[in-house]
């Protein structure tokens, strides 16, 4: 019932226009190399400052997200420059396909897979969100603390080759989150006497710094090598040229499996799209190997179809903890939360009561965004590819201008721009020495919440930690976090127990090292 009202809102001509505009702008910005969905939304947040009605703004954001995600996979496939770790898995096979002259098929399976997974996962979201919201009312401070710990630990442990580097990334993020006023007592912390730091370091500043500026610096340091050339799109007739019959046959199962992996992992507070996309990639690869095929690594279409579907499905999944618990578990969710806060809305158990029409309009706009994406982007792909023909130095110059503008228009303060630059330098060195970026983001967004909830729980229990470990739900969530920490080492330990020699010591969901 509520969802139908949501559709009625979204399908008004003006809102449809917002959705179309969002998809178009999102794709345009997202197609820039190194710019992913979170960064795109962060850069485009100021557009909605003058909106009176949050509904229109959120419809636009949904469009921007889908556009940016599709733009990001376009760049990953054609240029092999994934903007976020969520599209790294797509880039592995997708770029190989493009180099084999099958760019169009890769882009098509990504777009259609995103659409299929997006629709399925949005249906699941519509069914799951309200019951979980009702359940979430019972959650206490200690549970929120444990959820935040779980989200941070699982991403840190499962991503990247080195646990130490991942934990350092996480700690740096937690520190950035500590800077500014203490949310409980109002004491200033780590401001080093600079007034600009008193209000804290905003998540958008961190995202722009780490992703946009760090990426530009990273590319600048190897721009002379001129490695990446755009794989050309092969000529194809509009009707049939995208996917051949065998492409369809090989794609549809990975799409469904991707959706099945993506939504639950997104909905679990386990940090967004990185883990499910790599899980889907690994799974499709294993299946192909078991079937005796050896085309993985040389452009297997399953390696694009699965991860892209998982990526899109996990976004709807991430909206579950965001809308029902107010818990952002990915960079994109954190920027969405910032958008909610611009309109004085607080996601959480009460949101479904207080702003029910907005929530359902947002969910309906996810459906509409998916449709628009397919209708607008598949035929227009030639135009987006033109963006990539802009010479490298101009493109990166443009990204810097866009990033600076975004930070300045959000904060109205030049010092914040310098802060973003400083974080960008940190991001450059982290990229250079293989430190994962995702844990920093999660540390910044979840750290303050984790601390506030922990202290709230400790105040209730008179400073005793027993309150946290004696509550069954809290304890269960914390134990899950421990499992996530140990899991990557389990295969190695098991093999050693059985007395076999082992090849790798840690299970890794990434292509690094």
């Amino acid at each position: 019932m509520d969802l139908i009202e949501g559709f009625a809102t979204v399908l008004q001509p003006l809102n449809l226009l917002f959705a179309a505009l969002g998809v178009t702008i999102g794709t345009l910005v997202g197609v820039l190399p190194g710019i992913g969905p979170a960064l795109t939304i962060a850069l485009l947040l100021p557009i909605t400052f003058n909106f009176d009605d949050p509904t229109g703004a959120f419809i636009m954001f949904a469009g921007i997200y889908y556009g940016a995600m599709y733009g990001g996979s376009t760049t990953s496939i054609l240029l092999n420059t994934p903007g976020e770790s969520a599209s790294v898995a797509t880039a592995i096979e997708g770029h190989q396909m493009a180099r084999n002259g099958r760019a169009r098929a890769a882009l098509a399976t990504a777009a259609i897979g995103s659409f299929v997974a997006g629709v399925i996962s949005t249906v699941l979201l519509a069914f799951v969100a309200a019951p979980i919201g009702a359940l979430a009312v019972k959650f206490q401070a200690a549970d929120y603390f444990a959820l935040a710990v779980l989200a941070m630990v699982s991403v840190t442990a499962l991503l990247g080759a080195s646990l130490v580097r991942g934990l350092i990334s996480l700690v740096l993020g937690l520190f950035l989150g500590l800077v500014g006023l203490d949310q409980v007592t109002g004491q200033v912390r780590f401001t080093f006497g600079a007034p600009v730091l008193t209000e804290g370091i905003g998540i958008t500043i961190v995202i722009v710094g780490l992703f946009a500026i760090g990426e530009v610096l990273h590319c600048a340091s190897r721009v002379r090598s001129g490695e990446d050339t755009i794989a050309p799109l092969e000529k194809a007739s509009l009707r049939t040229g995208y996917l051949s019959r065998s492409d369809w046959a090989r794609s549809w199962r990975p799409w469904l499996r991707g959706a099945a992996i993506g939504f639950p992992f997104g909905a679990l507070p386990a940090g967004g799209a990185e883990v499910p996309t790599f899980l889907s990639y690994t799974y499709e690869k294993r299946r192909a190997e078991r079937a005796g095929r050896e085309d993985f690594g040389h452009g297997a279409i399953e390696g694009v179809a699965g991860p892209e579907a998982a990526n899109n499905a996990s976004f709807s999944g991430v909206l579950v903890p965001l809308l029902t618990l107010g818990l952002p578990t990915s960079a994109t969710a954190a920027v969405m939360l910032a958008a909610f806060q611009i309109f004085n809305l607080q996601p959480g158990p009460q949101l479904f009561q207080t702003s029910s029409s907005l929530v359902w309009a947002l969910i309906a706009s996810l459906f509409v965004g998916n449709v628009l994406l397919l209708v607008l982007n598949l035929p227009l792909i030639q135009i987006w590819v033109k963006v990539l023909l802009v010479p490298r130095p101009l493109l990166y110059g443009g990204i810097l201008v866009l990033a600076t503008l975004g930070v300045y228009s959000l904060s109205g303060n030049v010092l914040q721009v310098f802060l973003a630059y400083g974080i960008g330098v940190l991001g450059y060195f982290m990229r250079r020495y293989d430190f994962p970026i995702a844990p920093v983001i999660l540390g910044v967004i979840l750290g303050p919440m984790m601390e506030t909830q922990l202290r709230r729980a400790l105040v209730v229990s008179d400073g005793s930690f027993t309150a946290i470990v004696t509550r069954p739900l809290t304890l269960a969530i914390l134990l899950l976090a421990v499992v996530a920490l140990v899991l990557p080492y389990a295969p190695g330990v098991l093999a050693r127990v059985r007395g076999r020699r082992i090849e790798t010591r840690k299970l890794v969901f990434s292509d690094e090292d």
């Binding site: 080195s162 350092i168 700690v171 500590l178 409980v184 004491q187 780590f190 006497g193 202290r455």
Partner: protein, 153 residues
Amino acid sequence: MTAPATTASTRGELAFGLVLVALGVVALTQVRAIAGNEGWAVSGPRFVPLLVCAAWVLLSVVYVVQVFRRLGGSGEFDRTAALLMATLIGYAYVVIPLGYVLSTAVSFVLTARILGSRKVVRDVVAGVVMALVVYFAFTELLSIRLPRGVLPL
């Protein structure tokens, strides 16, 4: 020893690790600067920062040790890196009482010497000029307060 290219990038990693350790120590000392009636109570404003900064220092030390191991840990390199780390940590401790300019200039000269420079006059000039430029750029142009310390600036 590893191949030259690997060594160069590993040295970069080592430098990054040492900077991380030094920054972590600075952050850790700043925990004490957090005011409040709660002191070190677990529900007070200092407890989580203390945990985070301690973890930061600990993890970056582990990281530095890991990079060391990969380098093969030749004796001379160990000593250079250890001296560098000591300088950075010492810097973190004197920067507030002595002031930014003096402590930066001194540790710049020390660092250059540890890294093999023997031209003391050039190092001193470079260190003093750099420290002064940074100090005035930050305090005058950006109005970010840096520790003034003992010098009448």
